[in-house]
Amino acid sequence: MTSPDRTIRVPLHEVAHGRTGDKGNRVNISVIPYQEEAWPLLLAQLTPERVKAWFAAKGAGTVTRYDLPNLPAMNFVIDDVLQGGVNGALNLDGHGKSLAFHLLSIPVEVPARLALHPEKAIA
């Protein structure tokens, strides 16, 4: 059995939830940890550079991260990721509404106790 303190690698979805919103050719994606203890770990791992690379296939431009320690939560704003926006894009999800779940699939390393389903650990 996995010790609760052992560090495991899991999709962000095990540790946080979030939602996409769109405006023009950019989206924002909120990332809200289920447990406050995860907050500093996510701050260290979810850098704008890493998020930009994660959305490279979508042609992501500038990525800005806004931190809200009060909630706690962070808010990513990703430019140029809609490939023309809801009106010009040829893809199925012109609003980018699904993209929060793309970000929630990025791997993060956390103590097993912070993952909702530690058995979903990935190699």
Binding site: L71, V86, L90
Partner: protein, 456 residues
Amino acid sequence: MTARTVHIGCGAGFAGDRWDAAIPVVATLARRSGPRYLMYETLAERTLALAQQAKIENPAAGFSPYLERILRPVLKTAKAAGIRVISNFGAANPLGGARKILEMAREEGVAGLKVAVVDGDDLTAVMTEADIRGHATVEGIGMPEGKLVAANVYLGARPIADALALGADIVVVGRCADPALALGPLLHEFGWSLDDLDRVAAGTMAGHLLECGAQVTGGYFADPGYKEVPDFGHVGFPIAEIDADGTVVIGKADDTGGLVSHRTVKEQLLYEMHDPSAYLTPDVTLDVTGVRVEEIGRDRVRLTGARGKPKPPTLKATVSFEGGWLGEGEITYAGPNARRRAELAIEVLRTRVRDLGTNWPLRFDMIGTVATFDGDGGELRASRPWPDDGEYRVRMATQGGDRRMAQWIADEVLSLYCSGPAGGAGVRHRTAPLITTASILVDRDRVRAGARLLEE
């Protein structure tokens, strides 16, 4: 005497929302006392352009096509209980929408209904197309080509408050900032000045939380095994209670499913927000970085600490243009070797479209892999292997100026039935007119918003 608490429910978060959502909201509000309001948000960026096109074909149309279906079930109860209604369902024709409401009131036997119209959002009434095109765009999309369809500025809360001061039971607006649908009643009831930045910010935050309907009560939130939502099929729509000091409590309609928790509220608080210290609206720049979110009871969450900064110097407007035609088609391959048959279908479609002699952009998806997250080039799908056996749906999409070519390209998907790989099934193909939109910033002194009461 000014009110201490104002109750504002929401009956729709977008044009296609649940037709019956407002019924339990109004029933709940009817059991409460004090000033009570129902708002409907029904106007996405492109919705107004579609309404404008409808109005060109029929001058009596152009208001929300859903207006009757969402308002009629609550019209009588709301009027009897003194619940006032505010909505942007006027779309491109608030006056036409108001007339429709008065017609419904007569049919339903609702006497003495006062309906107000807010106008001034239509920029084409005060600016030439060249003038509109001369504005720089914001939010990353340049000024589109094509024929101008609509240009509407986001109005603030003041004209809505003015309409209420005229005694309106129902206020019909075209384009306005979504949070203004809630801020308008608060300005009216509390007598807040727009210079009272922190209170205006709190009212704007309340409106922002309400404007997407169930998105704050468990809708667009449910994720089985992670975020459970009870009786989700009957998700209840929100009711906010706002105090004169700017304290906001989010709750929901009685006897409904869904939930209000700190998590549902936080997700909606940050929805469509970019810099959380500077959420721009016509009335105030909202800063939510100091907001405290507390669960104070079952399905009750209190928010305090919204801060206001001065409003931006300009108003945002959405400009819409005819954008040519979309052509798309889909076909499914299932069972043994489905992936390779689907890939062959894509190869055949590429060949066939090339033979049409067009250079229109093409996008191919294999639904069942990573189509939703992938770019137009399919890089994500190409980055890893997919099982040969299974179920894959091929999708091709294109766009350009000529409807006939859009149809011809889409028709190539249909012809895969007899001439494509084995077992192709379930073709759907279509063409659709496109509207392209962009955002511009407009000087405030170019815009004259006003409210007037419609006499029966």
